[in-house]
Amino acid sequence: MIQISNVTKDYPQGTGLRTRALDHVDLTIEPGEFVGIVGRNGSGKTTLARLLNGLLLPSSGQVLVDGWDTADPCHRQDIRARVGMVFQNPDNQIINPIVEEEVAFGVENLNLPSAEVTRRVDWVIELMGLSEWRHHAPHLLSGGQKQRLAIAAALAMGNSYLVLDEPTSMLDQLARRDLMTCLKRLVREEKITVILISHSMEEVAEADRLIVLHRGSIHLDGSPGQVFNAPGFVQTGLKRPPIPGLVDGLLKLGHQINQEIVTLEQMVEFLCQ
């Protein structure tokens, strides 16, 4: 479980002023959840993501990961082995010149025995569908494959939580779809807790829980259906994806329809009855 208690994060500006990126945020994420986080630029999403694995420390308040405090240097490695991070730019997070060695990088840093390293690397490469590319250089991979590589490299460390900070922003539609399928599989089959930050409303509509950040605090928190249809949603400057918009339109025309319908699949299922 990840617990964020009364966390505030300030960034110092040159002139002695401070920008408040997060303002007294309280948040609990249970294991196995698929959480989507959205918000406009400057709402604090990236700051929140980086607090989760201790890359940033709160100015006040506490972040606990499975009971460990991120501010405690003794547990920093443990926390980072538990909470994996995937960033927006696929290229700028791949350090090693060969796919297999990139996957092994994090695990090796944990100083585990060689046999264990090999076992994990094999498992995760298979899981992420990168077997064909195992001995290739990363620059030969497509954007979507690079992101899968980043996920593989994180998972090999034995993460139970995976935080992805706008992983699809630089990808095309097909790569996005593949990544979403991959994430859903990780949640369902591997029981990884996935925390996805995205600008794409269609993507986060697939999550179990949706959090909207606005000016450094949590504005809305609930199921995607609840959040998209909440009156406060429009104020945040975000746009609803088409299907909830369709549902809203139908409700206004007097039809009986479940507000929890947010994805295309759910809508098709509903209409084909």
Binding site: R40, N41, Q88, D172, L174, H199, P242, H255, T263, L271
Partner: protein, 286 residues
């Protein structure tokens, strides 16, 4: 006379080597002056290659590209094409080099040989077109601005040059909704007020559908369809093509039609889709 015309345009990378790749395969299209053309295609469909033919960065392996009636394979003409055809690559903020926003936007204008007072005027105009206030920003260092603002500055660099044709590759990629709005607004202004021909390559079919007059769909180097919006969407609905690139409400219509439901697939907007679904529910309730 169309402002851009391609005739059987084929482009092959690294010909004669084992890494040879046919990026474009006999693409023929015509674009009239003042049109807003949207090009849809996944990575690897050849859209970036096609773009670079429009301003002479690339020349065809076979076939012809005519801009304003003249052949781009003529070196002299090709070297001057950048003045007429403004190309904005994906993530244009990665090209920023100057120490002030003014110098950055003025770069292309100075290359055009414009006089200083005109350069100043165009810089301010370019920045305001993308929604930036030049008073605040002119002397700031562009590399120190945030991502969305840098994108706006990079776009202003090309808009200020008043190109007759504006070609953009994913101009809204990676931006938040507010950032997207600024860019879209700027493009509409260019088309309306300056009669610029706009060619936009995008995955964001949602935006394209509302902006474009004509659309082209590229798949693995081949031009699958090219025509008015409704024509293209109609063809995409009937082909066995991956509808992935379309917005959810259109995908819904096509799925319902394929399942045998009596819906009109000629619609474009969400409101139209809502109306159709409403009728469908109403009818099935009876």
């Amino acid at each position: 006379m169309p402002i851009i015309e391609t005739r059987d345009l084929t482009h092959i990378y690294l010909p004669g080597t084992p890494y040879q790749r046919r990026a474009l395969d006999e693409v023929s299209l015509t674009i009239e002056e003042g049109e807003f053309v949207g090009i849809i295609g996944a990575n690897g469909s050849g859209k970036s290659t096609l773009m670079q033919h429009f301003n002479g960065l690339l020349i065809p392996s076979s076939g012809k590209v005519l801009v304003d009636g003249k052949d781009t394979s003529v070196k002299g003409y090709r070297n001057e094409l950048w003045k007429q055809v403004g190309l904005v690559f994906q993530f244009p903020e990665q090209q920023i080099f100057a120490s002030t926003v003014y110098d950055e936007v003025a770069y292309g204008l100075k290359k055009l040989g414009l006089a200083r007072p005109i350069v100043k005027q165009r810089v301010e105009e370019g920045l305001s077109m993308v929604g930036l206030d030049s008073r605040d920003i002119l002397s700031l260092s562009p590399l120190c601005l945030n991502g969305g603002t840098r994108r706006q500055v990079a776009l202003a660099c090309i808009l200020a040059m008043h190109p007759a044709v504006l070609v953009l590759d994913e101009p809204t990629a990676g931006l938040d909704p507010a950032g997207c709005d600024y860019i879209i607004q700027a493009l509409q202004d260019m088309q309306r007020n300056h009669k610029t021909t706009v060619i936009m390559v995008s995955h964001n079919v949602n935006d394209l559908i509302l902006l474009a007059d004509k659309m082209a769909f590229l798949d693995q180097g081949k031009l699958m369809v090219f025509g008015s919006k409704t024509e293209v969407l109609r063809q995409m609905a009937h082909r066995d093509v991956d509808h992935l690139l379309l917005p959810d409400h259109l995908k819904l219509m096509y799925r319902l039609a394929a399942a045998g439901c009596p819906v009109n697939t000629d619609i474009i907007t969400l409101e139209q889709a809502t109306a159709e679904v409403s009728i469908l529910i109403g009818e099935s309730a009876r």
